[in-house]
Symmetry: C2
Subunit: 528 residues, 2 copies
């Protein structure tokens, strides 16, 4: 296509494209914009290498003129300007996330990469933000999804954008290294099953933190298992010795970071519930660690009825805490994993779970409920002339021309509406009445008197340079939360959220501009 533009002599043509989506994902009423940082890095590094050009020569038809490859070789993004929302902002359908201006050919070449960089990033950040809203701010959320992502690099994007969206850490160590995201993990079931019995325990000794003496953790744990067995009403027979050996070895390796998977020998029998072996063994090792001056972190439950098991575990921890006067024991962390999604969390909330931390993989990284955000890239102006794409489907009609966007805030400080205007219009003013119109339904319109007007676009790329230093991942992450706070609660709820006004409002001027162009371009049919 670039060659066709070039061959048509359209090298000097200048175009404006909007990158936007038409529908919020996950049945929700908001989207988080992410991926801008990667877009800017892409613009910075954009060029055709010699090997790219060699390859293109082999795949494009032999009739392609050599000069075109010279043209490609010297192609840069220096004449491109990118306006964008701030990364991490809440946004809505049809408000362009990026407005990309510049040489038609170059901008068209950028299309697919910009879409790729924004689509999944925004989808993932939105998904993560929804999990955060569902879980509440006091619960820790960890991303455990690498194994189910679209390959290793898909996994890195997942880690990065779920952190931005509000997760607290990842199990992906490379993501930790590359993006400075906190890395958290526990052990696997295989760690437990790799120990058959006490003879697999080659090291039993741990230094007492206070006295510095070596103590026998196996002896101490076995010693504790007896009274705890009575207290918790779990027979020591029910507890697996292989599991105890595994937990002891893990505690010796990480005396200050002891977190144990407790459902490996989770065999439900008659009226008994699972995790009994794991709970008893964990508590015995945690008490042994306590004897030596260390505090355990907690447990992970990876199967079964998470609400019920977390309550049982919390009861057990409270019981021990009271009996041995160890207040911190009641606060031991309960982590849950196992195929968790947004609905699971909401359902667990209703059942008053006692989980402090969710580790979430598959549903988070694949965005199972809707694995793609449908961002599109549409031409809206060329050489100063607005372009409109008509469609049988009104929602697919593009908004022509170079536009600016403003967020108007109401008296209570919440965002009221996003308004698109022609770029030549004056910005809306605080305290002045603004007519906001539905772009396609004539009768849908409202006056708004904003208490605050936030211009949504900033030029992030122009003259071949990133205009401001890029915000850190931390800053973008904070922006997500502060931006979400400007949104009324009812827009954010999971079930039947209130729509954020019309899809997007347009100014009266833009409304007329669209409809004039529409009439001008739509052919008149004949009834037959």
């Amino acid at each position: 296509m670039a060659y066709a533009y070039w061959k048509s002599g359209r090298v000097k043509d200048v175009a404006v494209f909007d990158l936007f989506f038409r529908q919020n994902p996950f049945g929700g009423e908001f989207t988080i914009f992410a991926g801008l940082g990667e877009c800017l890095k892409f613009l910075q590094n954009f060029h055709y290498s010699d090997s790219d050009i060699e390859y293109l020569k082999t795949t494009l038809p032999a009739s392609i003129e050599d000069e075109f490859f010279v043209f490609l070789k010297h192609l840069t993004t220096n004449d491109v300007t990118v306006y964008a929302l701030e990364e991490g902002s809440v946004t809505f359908p049809r408000v362009p996330l990026l407005r990309v201006e510049g040489p038609l050919i170059v901008v068209q070449i950028l299309e697919t990469t910009l879409l790729t960089l924004v689509n999944y990033a925004s989808l993932m950040a939105t998904n993560a933000a929804r999990y955060r809203l569902a879980a509440g701010k006091d619960v820790r959320l960890l991303e455990f999804g690498l194994r189910r992502a679209q390959g290793p690099d898909g996994g890195l994007s997942a880690s990065k954008y779920s952190y931005i969206g509000g997760f607290d850490g990842t199990s992906n160590v490379l993501a930790g290294k590359m993006f400075h995201i906190p890395v958290k993990g526990t052990h696997a079931h295989a760690y437990i099953t790799s120990f058959s019995n006490f003879s697999d325990l080659q090291t039993k000794m741990l230094l007492d933190r206070i006295t510095g003496d070596e103590k026998d953790m196996l002896q101490l744990s076995l010693h504790w298992r007896v009274p705890l067995s009575g207290l918790l009403d779990i027979l020591t027979d029910e507890a697996s010795d292989g599991e105890l050996a595994a937990l002891i070895s893990f505690a010796i390796a990480f005396p200050d970071g002891f977190i144990a998977l407790v459902d490996t020998y989770d065999v439900k029998r008659s009226s008994l519930i699972g995790c009994r072996s794991g709970l008893l063994n964990f508590c015995a090792v945690a008490m042994a660690l306590n004897d030596l001056g260390y505090r355990a972190i907690g447990i992970r439950i990876d199967s079964g009825d998470l609400a019920y098991l977390s309550n049982k575990a919390r009861e057990v921890f409270v019981k021990i805490s009271h009996k041995y006067n160890l207040p911190w024991f009641a606060e031991l962390q309960i982590m849950a994993s196992n195929d968790i999604n947004e609905e699971t969390i909401l359902s667990l909330n209703e059942q008053n779970h006692k989980i402090d931390c969710f580790a979430i993989g598959t549903h988070l990284v694949t965005c199972q409920r809707q694995p793609a955000l449908g961002c599109v890239f549409k031409l809206v102006e060329i050489n100063g002339t607005p372009r409109i794409k008509l469609s049988q489907d009104v929602v697919k009609i593009t908004m022509p021309g170079r536009k600016d966007a403003y967020r108007l805030y109401g008296a209570d400080g919440h965002a009221l509406i996003d308004l698109l205007q022609r770029a030549v219009e004056n910005p809306p003013e605080v305290g002045a009445r603004v007519l906001c119109r539905h772009p396609f339904q004539e009768s849908k319109r409202a006056y708004v008197i904003p208490t605050r007007v936030e211009p949504l676009y900033k030029a992030y790329w122009s003259g071949g340079k990133v205009r401001d230093p890029l915000p850190s991942l931390e800053e973008v992450r904070l922006r997500v939360q502060s931006s979400l706070q400007t949104l009324r609660q009812d827009h954010k709820r999971n079930l039947n959220p209130t729509p954020y006004k019309v899809q997007v409002a347009v100014s009266d001027d833009l409304y007329n501009f669209i409809h004039d162009l529409w009439l001008e371009n739509a052919p008149i049919g004949e009834l037959s």
Copy 2:
């Protein structure tokens, strides 16, 4: 976890892990195994770099002994052996795709990456193979999904594994360059809308292939639009001049590769159908090209009723073919895009569509119907001792021990059953009766007399080396189709496919082995 193993002195422990999934994706009865090539490359390149170790030192607790980092620095995969199915094979739930043997610590460190490399690759190849089955072998399938993938690298994996699964090409030029996959694309709607009228056409001339004379393509196309308008019953008024200008410029750039998007000005009015402007303009340009000795390729339709429009377009092509005695014109390619998935193709088949080529993006690369294959990695043996993981859920019980797998074929040449055996058992023999049992249901068993026995595993990695040269992408792609051919048609159909016998069969010996271990490991409860 690696540190805990190390600290427990388990450096010499040797383990066997199975990598497998428990359910076929997409409600189907088969899965394509892919990703082995990448796994082997990963094993080849596996090491901890100095910067990795520096990073780990900053994230792991300060109590970690320095010697452990020295240990990591010298860690290799030289003592690991990987047995696997042939990449591109049809496979079934619970038959391990990989059997990974070697030092417990190393194998455990490999877990997540191996899962990542196999999960999406197999899911994607399976999805692509299903599209191929739905579309039939004569329709071309192109992957157009980069913009909806999990970032640029997710997109590369999507291109690669959809090619393996049976697609014919991709729109991802980098995938073409890296993997030698045929690259195909068309132009975008923006190309059409960037032309307003004939004055945007800066070059109108094209060389006559025969005479070498320069001819005016605009004049020729306009000339052709008149008789074609009558023949096709489309008014020249209905055809957009901007669109014609765009198509002419594209034809001049790619006279031998002229394929046109025909639905840009697709406005449905009264009884008329869309694409009328595009069809008339395309045919006019195609006839103009024909005058100069070039043959157009075809059209792409990106909206509307694809079955109806493809039939209309084919009628138009046939009409012109007859009228002007140009047999090839009747065969012009009709490409369809726009949110196509497996069900769309099946439904279009029922409507007798006339589409030659589908360009598929979102649903293909995100595997929307099921965006993750649930591969797991389970410990089955340690230091020669089998390990079993029990679960309340029978499907989650692991198959203990080092196992081999065989595919048994019936008299008609189709695959009958996959049989798992203990590695110490003799392979099944052609013509000899083999007792095949359901692993968990005692009464489900059958005798099979195989006409062919295919050992499924081969050692692909041992002694720090890839054992055989890796097959090319082409070879793996062929393997997918030949492997699918061994499967009976009813296992492959989209609606209610016949299950491939039991999930997986086990030999009588393995059956008893599993159940003995199960009893040995399951605690006995008390009724209360």
